[in-house]
Symmetry: C2
Subunit: 591 residues, 2 copies
């Protein structure tokens, strides 16, 4: 059975050596001392190691079962859910007015990686609840907040997001679910929603569905969409549970992975719903949830890569097969461990260098979220808005690739289910698809975010990289970080310039390269993160750290990224500059 151990030291390095969170001045960060974050992450790590990781394969094997409208989660999930609630983990960064602990999102993101790495399906129940909490917190009336939030913060009740319908995924303008106004101010919701994660289950007393629907007579398309709170049990004025609402789970989907999470077809048959926010402005309210969810999904890509990597390392050290060509390493054994072989190293280093870079990117992104929300820092808000599709798309694409590499190290043992390596790839696969498939992220990045506010935010990113490089100019010890970063950043700017020059005439010229651009951006961000980590590691070494090996290893891992992974930017630029023609020249009938 795969195991998991929280990478607390690596996380602390990012939080304290690189981002220096405690002294950063972000509201709430002064509590984030190394002792405090270390203790929280260690504690989360224990839950992950002892409770969640052992249930991961159980969830995969048993899956969720629908019988007579009731969904049973896998063995052990209920007890684990109790542990999660009791520890207050579900409300870590939630508003204290509703029972939350009021900690920064940053801490939640770090803890989220640890818990999700151990059991992604399980943590989705909490993740979706948090998203629904955020939407109600941002857009709900006082009375709605009082009614729903305390129970959602504690996860006595869970939440969902209901967007997709059978004929309508990305294109929400097509949705058909109807919301008919009633005389008491409520609405009757009618329609079918599919792919509803955590749509029905036995972990909570109530499930608060947030449902996109159209009020008859409203504007056409996405401009006529409203968001509704549709509880499984209608909540009475005194807060107790009233009637079962007229909604039901019609089916659970058979999926490639995340079997421990119930993916439901939800049927709303004139169910009682309450408008959340403003009529016809439902998409905006849903995006509060969606932006959070997208960052969270990027984190899932990272978390599954980390979990798979840890187990690949264990196997590569343990499995004896072949001999080191440069000289026997294990003379007393029948063969050397796999890890002596350069191609196995290549796979491990690819995972390690991605994961550590991605974690820094994720935590840096989390800091931007805190700056934006807690300090109303508009620059940070613009930057994280720009970065959100990159975090989602790049981290899930590359995180998935890492799970495939980890599986590959196991050879045939990676293909049979016994060792659990197949599950990491099957679970990680969904992260490239849901909350907006990665192609949609790329479209959002290139079609919307790049030009947002006159391109101010991408210019701010370029300026940041430029300033960083200027600051470390002449630092020859780190030239193997700074030069590749400079080259990558040049590629990114060239791509942006190419879009500006060609995308106006022909939008397809930009869109044909949108996924390439998302990856180019992601690589540049990870290059920046590795350069920042190198600066921090070197400072620690220069300062006479008593753990020089740790910092030396950071430099070695970073050099792998800079030498072997970051140069992908050149290829991506070449693809972008080849334009729309190669992509679009065939008639649709020719496929």
């Amino acid at each position: 059975m795969p195991s998991y151990s929280a990478p607390v030291k690596d996380m602390s390095f990012v939080l304290h050596d690189v981002l220096k969170v405690e002294a950063s001045g972000t509201d709430g960060y002064s509590e984030l001392t190394p002792d405090f974050t270390g203790a929280v992450l260690e504690e989360a790590g224990k839950i992950s190691r002892d409770i969640l990781a052992p249930l991961n394969q159980v969830g995969d094997t048993e899956g969720c079962v629908l019988e007579n409208g009731v969904v049973r989660t896998p063995t052990g999930f209920k007890d684990a859910w109790g542990t999660l609630k009791e520890g207050g983990w579900t409300g870590l960064d939630c508003d204290p007015d509703y029972g939350g602990q009021g900690m920064p999102f940053m801490l939640n993101a770090a803890v989220g990686e640890v818990l999700s790495a151990a059991n992604m399906s399980f943590m989705m129940y909490a993740g979706l609840t948090h998203g629904a909490y955020s939407a109600i917190h941002a857009h709900g009336s006082d009375s709605q907040k009082q009614t729903y939030l305390p129970k959602m913060v504690s996860c006595e009740w869970t939440g969902t997001m209901n967007l997709t319908e059978p004929h309508c995924g990305t294109d929400l303008g097509l949705l058909r679910t109807k919301a008919e106004p009633q005389s008491d101010g409520s609405y009757k919701i009618t329609g079918q929603k599919i792919f509803i994660s955590a749509g029905e289950h036995d972990l909570a007393d109530n499930i608060i569905h947030l449902v996109l629907a159209k009020i008859p007579g409203g504007p056409e398309g996405v401009k006529g969409i409203s968001l509704f709170i549709v509880p499984k049990f209608v909540v009475k004025d005194d807060g107790s549970l009233g009637d079962r609402n007229t909604l039901s789970c019609g089916k659970l989907e058979e999926k490639m992975g995340i079997h421990g999470n119930a993916t439901a077809v939800m049927n709303y048959d004139g169910a009682t719903g309450y408008l959340l926010g403003t009529e016809h402005k439902g998409l905006r309210a849903m995006f509060t949830m969606m932006n959070e969810a997208r960052i969270n999904v990027g984190m899932q890509g990272l978390s599954q890569a980390e979990a798979a990597y840890q187990n690949a390392v264990i196997y590569a050290k343990d499995r004896l097969q072949g001999r080191d060509v440069t000289g026997v390493q294990n003379p007393d054994g029948p063969a050397d461990p796999l890890i002596v072989h350069p191609d196995v190293r290549r796979m491990l280093m690819t995972q390690k260098a991605f994961i550590e870079g991605a974690r820094a990117f994720m935590l840096w992104g989390a800091k931007l979220v805190d700056d934006a929300h807690r300090a109303k820092d508009e620059a940070a808000d613009g930057l994280i808005s720009l970065m959100t599709p990159v975090l989602k798309g790049f981290l899930t694409d590359k995180g998935y690739d890492c799970t495939v590499l980890a599986q590959q190290i196991y050879g045939g043992h990676g293909y049979i289910e016994e060792w659990g390596m197949s599950q990491f790839t099957r679970d990680a696969r969904i992260a490239m698809i849901y909350e907006g498939a990665n192609g949609v992220q790329a479209l959002d990045l290139v079609g919307r975010k790049l030009a947002q506010d006159g391109g101010k935010h991408v210019m701010a990113f370029f300026a940041m990289v430029k300033d960083f490089l200027a600051e470390h100019k002449g630092n020859d010890d780190l030239a193997d970080f700074m030069e590749p970063l400079k080259a990558a950043s040049k590629d990114l700017q060239a791509a942006g310039m190419w879009f500006m020059q060609n995308g106006m005439k022909n939008p397809n010229a930009a869109l044909a390269g949108s996924t390439d651009f998302m990856h180019l951006f992601g690589h540049t961000c990870l290059g920046l993160m590795w350069a920042r980590m190198a600066v921090a590691a070197k400072a620690a070494l220069d300062g006479g750290t008593d753990d020089p090996e740790f910092y030396e290893n950071k430099l070695k891992t970073g050099r792998f990224y800079m030498a072997r992974m970051l140069p992908e930017t050149g290829l991506l630029l070449k693809r972008i500059e080849s334009g729309a023609d190669p992509v679009m020249s065939l008639d649709a009938e020719a496929f």
Copy 2:
């Protein structure tokens, strides 16, 4: 349910326009007229479309079941097996002396793609039988051939290859299965083998296991391995079935995919076996089977990519979602089909350009096999020996990536099992692992094949590319093919040179870049294939073909490969030239 339709026109283009098989002078190729190959492929296509494809999801869902030592294949497999046998498909390229049809391997490869695309798990039963047939045909005594081959050609009996043991995969020197000589010249085989595809099932009257084992007292390591024929039922002198041998299937593995094929743990308890070939030379005999199997597995990568692609195209044309940003394409519908979106096009073109290039590479490789075997052409033999790890490794790595892209086009519908797109990725995944994991292919290529016969074969490849480019120099119409091919070939040569200069001092310098080199080689081969296809397409257009669109589309698809995919060679060279240091500098303990 996914569908499949044989790409006969594309195959004919490669066979007749590009390779011009009929006039190529290869022994047996004069029969390969367009009418003949077309008829054979159409007929195979019917079986695939009507019988095998409809059973693909059935096989995935039901899997194989072991009860009381008996393995039941999925519903419908037995009948389909009957159809395959009756049509003579199992002995297409087998020796007429044993009931085969004596056709070229080339035709078998083309037919193999068609049948395997429709149902990979099912076709593995035949594929393994063919491999065992080849080993017995090459190394067996006359009496062994008479006893086993006719029934294996007709697939009344099937075959297996037994290499792996629990502690020993790639490193066969570690194997423990024992073969004790008996006074009658037979051996008693004792040991456990795992991951035995088609190890036990209900499709055949007998199963002929080829088993690697050690004769006590023989040399240590791989030099003491012999190969044995170990039939499930001992065959009597009159050819009828005798006693049940003392071997049994102990377990079927739960796997990520290929559920329709039984992956067995095989226990040999003093089972009666017969030496195949020479004592202690078993590995050589096994490699007859393995080389064939490796090419066949490369073909599986291609076949699954093709099957997944076909269904991605259907969905992309059918699913209405969003609008073409350059102008509405489907004004009467609520939205435009997915295929209008540039990022969807990018995914489809990536698959299409890979698949068509890979098919040409595969069929060219098949021609080399025929040249080597039928005409004893040593140059062809050397070249296909060099190419085999590239065919296996590159086509399965990239083929898998294509199945992931095809799945991605379905969005959430690709993740649920209902649409069958998950199965293509789960099935294709094994091809990167079995018959030597792709890292082992890369090691074989860089560590053995490159320097084989003094590097003669790789030099011959370079010379071939050079001659081709010289022949088409000044052909400005095809400059967008020739220039990128030249650049790729230059990258490949630079990589080879770098290995020569650095690999002697430090073998790890070459091995760290071995997978990159395998991909660099694969891309160059596909670049060469696309350039050859472009020449053929242009010749057809210049010659006044009555199907100009077909050939124009070949050029358009090829241009996508040359502009967007082939330039990966530059990145791969950069990685290779970064050498061993980034890969090897961490201590094993630091992972």
